[in-house]
């Protein structure tokens, strides 16, 4: 129980940080997406049935604070969480390099999912022109932050993994 409370505390801190301080002090492509890192962490290390709900909620929260499309990030985060939770059994999830690599790839996948969703269901023509140049820097920044996050003693997942 305490483990989950600690994790909730970390998630709330990440949300507050991402919504308040980072947009003010960091330039656009170099703002790490802490929520996405949290989703990757949930997918790889915490295969709890509520973790999927948490990933979805994180996406909804991000949509509430960012952009105008409610459900966009909720969908992409849930997709990423589902994919990772299915793959987690076959991966050595205690490996730091793997975590960093997965965060990097998850950033790309999330961006592509969002782009597809926006292009299909909204009128945001030309969105890719501003999304694609920011994609690699954002993925690299996320990977960097993920490597730092991995060194923090976060609540661990099940030992069987």
């Amino acid at each position: 129980m305490i483990r989950y409370l600690k994790l909730t505390g970390w998630l709330l801190a990440a949300i507050v940080l991402q919504m308040t301080l980072m947009p003010r002090y960091l330039l656009d492509p170099f703002q790490p997406n802490l929520m996405l890192i949290a989703v990757v962490y949930l997918g790889l290390k915490l295969p709890h049935r509520l973790a999927g709900f948490a990933a979805f909620s994180l996406g909804l929260l991000q949509d509430s604070f960012s952009g105008i499309y409610l459900g966009l990030h909720a969908f992409s985060y849930l997709c990423i969480y589902t994919l990772l939770s299915q793959l987690a059994d076959r991966l050595y999830t205690d490996n730091r390099a793997l975590f960093v690599l997965v965060v990097f790839l998850a950033t790309l996948v999330c961006a592509l999912l969002n782009l597809v969703m926006l292009l299909i269901f909204s009128v945001s023509n030309g969105l890719y022109a501003s999304l694609l140049p920011a994609l690699i820097p954002q993925a690299l920044v996320n990977a960097l932050i993920a490597s730092l996050v991995f060194s923090v003693p976060l609540p661990a997942g099940e030992e069987a993994r």
Binding site: R24, Q62, F65, G126, S130
Partner: protein
């Protein structure tokens, strides 16, 4: 006699010693201004010692006074540092007040030029995503705001309100990909739609090739669509490209408002042509 002398030997020696001292004193009375050999000898011998002692004493005095001074200087330094900090804070606060005053004055001037009632809002948050261009302001539906209301700054159009909460609202900036504003080129009256292009850029779409558009032309709102009043500055044409094919020309517009530094804005409650 000898017995007498022996018996009073101690007394006699004392008296003789006293007499010698007295005579020495008496003999030196006449020569009191000059040093005798004994005095010279003693003075010669003691002078270096006295000098060394004086120097040591001076050094100690100096060290002590320097130490005391240093303590005082330290206290003074701490006090001065605090004072400098306070003054710096006042200077920064004063500069901030001057800049806020200039911004608010510009906003007030803008308010004076508008026919419609308006409400000043302050930016309290920015979008946390690199893709979307929105701002959060400190007023909401409790203050009479609703979705779709135009938002202006001193330079021109900023965007429009979307997602209004009781005490906050989101402003969709004109540079967001989802933003579209009916516009016209002020000089030639060529019509088009200014759409956000991400970053700090916009593009003007649906302007036919035959229309006269040049770099540097001012782009203003056309009033079509009922969201923005007619004639509000949107930006300036920075690039015009007429391709070989197609009906429309490609026009890039730089927003009149620097959207990266927005702090206070006006929300229009209704259009003048309503």
């Amino acid at each position: 006699m000898i017995k007498l002398l022996v018996r009073h030997k101690r007394l006699l020696i004392t008296a003789l010693f006293l007499l010698t001292v007295f005579l020495t004193y008496a003999m030196n009375l006449r020569n009191k201004e000059h040093a005798n050999p004994l005095e010279r000898g003693v003075m010669t011998l003691t002078a270096p010692v006295a000098g060394g002692a004086a120097a040591a004493s001076g050094t100690l005095d100096s060290l002590w006074s320097n130490y005391v001074d240093l303590l005082e200087v330290r206290r003074e330094n701490v006090a001065l540092r605090k004072s400098v900090q306070r003054l710096n804070e006042r200077i920064v606060s004063g500069n901030e007040a001057v800049m806020a005053n200039a911004r608010l004055k510009a906003l007030l001037d803008l308010k004076g030029t508008l026919d419609a009632p308006s409400l000043a809002v302050s930016v309290i948050g920015e979008d946390s995503s690199a893709w979307f261009k929105t701002l959060v302001v400190d007023r909401g539906s409790a203050d009479g705001l609703s979705e779709g209301m135009p938002v202006l700054a001193a330079g021109g159009i900023v965007g429009r309100l979307v997602k209004v909460a009781p005490h906050s609202a989101r402003v969709l900036l004109l540079t967001d990909h989802a933003s579209a504003i009916a516009a016209l080129v002020q000089r030639s009256r060529a019509r088009g739609v200014v759409r956000g292009a991400g970053g700090v850029r916009c593009s003007m779409e649906f302007t036919v090739k035959d229309d006269d558009v040049k770099v540097g032309d001012a782009v203003v709102s056309s009033g079509i669509g009922g969201v923005f009043p007619k004639g509000l500055p949107i930006g300036e044409v920075t690039m015009v490209k007429k391709g070989e094919y197609g009906v429309f020309q490609t026009i890039e517009v730089r927003p009149a408002v620097n959207i990266t530094n927005l702090e206070e804005m006006l929300v229009l409650f209704r259009q003048p042509n309503d």
